[in-house]
């Protein structure tokens, strides 16, 4: 079902799509400028922290039109995608987008690391944070892809962002009701099963959290979510038909 010979087509098409997306190009171009300004005004360390926390969103932006628009728009009913090759294309897009986002993130990180090394502020732990950020980004791609089988372009991303907004509102309300979860979150310690489950749920909605050093333990939760999202996508793609 997921033919290897479709991969060059997937890579080329996904690359062309990213190069023609004004939003992705704009954000990818603006981010280094923002980081340089932040690094000069504050410190390279502050720029590095901001980058590590927010770069997974780039993966999410790149995943905005994963499936539904292409399926419903008719673009897949083409000689390029005969014999179920459209399924391979949609599946492989996960990995191409994750690789493209990863390459970009690593390039920016290398720049920040060189800057930090020059100033003597580079911390080796940030490499682990980068790795977890890449995991969070890949998770975004997989979840946006799964949602993209249902929602049209952009809507899959909006659904995720709305879930994050709801989670933040929930957190704010939890401080009002003094449930103590925010304290656990700030300390990075979750003493009971309830708070651990709550943290797992929060990490599933807001995977950028795991980049924070106190919350690295959320990594396995995001990894499990990534595997689950890919499994859901794979199952849906196996059944997918083009019925425009």
């Amino acid at each position: 079902m997921f033919e290897k010979d479709v991969f060059p087509l997937t890579a080329r098409l996904a690359g062309l799509r990213l190069r023609t997306s004004g939003l992705v190009l704009g954000v990818a171009s603006a981010l280094p400028v923002f980081l340089v300004v932040l690094g000069v005004k504050e410190s390279p360390g502050a720029a590095s922290k901001a980058f590590l926390l927010f770069f997974p969103y780039l993966f999410l932006l790149a995943s905005q039109d994963m499936s539904a628009s292409e399926v419903r728009g008719g673009g897949l009913e083409n000689v390029l995608f005969l014999d179920g090759r459209f399924r391979s294309y949609l599946w492989q897009k996960n990995f191409v987008l994750a690789a493209a986002g990863g390459a970009y993130a690593c390039a920016v990180f290398l720049g920040l690391a060189a800057w930090g090394l020059g100033r003597g502020t580079f911390e080796a732990a940030s490499v682990l944070q980068l790795g977890l950020g890449l995991l969070a980004g890949t998770y975004y791609v997989a979840v946006a892809g799964a949602l993209g089988l249902v929602f049209r372009a952009g809507s899959n991303v909006v659904v995720l962002l709305l879930a994050q907004a709801a989670a933040l509102i929930g957190l704010i309300l939890s401080t009002t009701f003094r449930t103590g979860f925010v304290d656990h979150l700030a300390a990075g310690r979750f003493p009971d099963l309830g708070s651990r489950l709550l943290f797992a749920g929060l990490a599933a909605v807001f995977p950028n959290l795991i980049v924070a050093r106190r919350l690295l333990r959320g990594g396995p939760v995001v990894l499990a979510g990534l595997v689950l999202a890919l499994a859901v996508q794979r199952a849906c793609l196996r059944r997918l038909e083009l019925r425009r």
């Binding site: 087509l9 098409l13 062309l16 023609t20 009913e77 000689v79 038909e241």
Partner: protein
């Protein structure tokens, strides 16, 4: 080149195909006829792998496949030239040879090559159809499938498209044309498969088909054909 056997397909509770079977041979044009909802497009989409049948099978010989949809659609962010380049790479064709084919086909279809620098979504309906022909015929397909091949084309373009289909047939391709336009199909096709409510109602060569639909009485061919497809 292609053998379709016992195809069944339902959309929820609605049966679209109820055991469709026929075969295509190289160097022949086969018309798949039937009224709206007879199951033509479902059959075509199963043959091409866009839909999975509930039962039955499709056996296809090796070789390149061309497909011209009823209403062609392309990724809106891709220019025509990029789509052709992706098609060339997928087929493993050399650039020079490919560009020559594209040039020749553009001339034969009277398709303005300058349009290739724009996305097909900006083309007229007729030019989108011509572009779909261009993409598929440039592959020099061994099997060419076209769903309503002449829809959206003006009369001169219909003739040009017909000539190219016949040229593909003469080159040895098996051609399947799905349509409800009887007159055009009798000019283009060698064999006929008539679908009625998801089953093959008739299957024959051109002469036999014309004999069958030609009324014994004073009626016209069109009316007799309608009688055949409607049962």
């Amino acid at each position: 080149m292609l053998r379709v056997d016992g195809l069944r397909k339902s959309y929820g509770p609605v049966p679209a195909l109820r055991g469709v079977g026929f075969s295509l041979e190289r160097g022949r044009v086969t018309a798949l006829l039937g009224e709206n909802g007879a199951g033509k497009t479902t059959t075509v989409r199963i043959i091409l792998g866009f839909l999975a049948p509930d039962a039955g099978r499709v056996e296809r010989g090796t070789g390149r496949v061309g497909y011209v949809p009823d209403q062609p659609a392309f990724f809106p962010w891709l220019r025509g030239r990029a789509i052709l380049d992706l098609t060339r790479r997928s087929a493993g064709a050399g650039r020079a040879e490919w560009e020559e084919r594209v040039r020749d086909l553009s001339a034969a279809l009277r398709f303005d090559a300058a349009l290739l620098d724009r996305p097909p979504r900006t083309y007229s309906a007729g030019n989108v159809k011509k572009f779909a022909f261009l993409q598929s015929l440039a592959l020099e397909p061994d099997l060419l499938v076209a769903d309503e091949p002449f829809a959206a084309l003006d009369p001169p373009s219909v003739k040009r498209a017909r000539d190219l289909i016949i040229a593909a047939r003469d080159r040895g391709a098996a051609v399947l044309l799905s349509s409800h336009m009887l007159a055009e199909m009798t000019r283009t096709s060698d064999d006929f498969v008539v679908l009625r409510r998801g089953v093959v109602a008739a299957r024959s060569g051109l002469a036999e088909f014309l004999d069958r639909v030609r009324p014994a009485s004073a009626g016209d061919v069109e009316s007799a054909f309608l009688g055949l497809i409607q049962g």
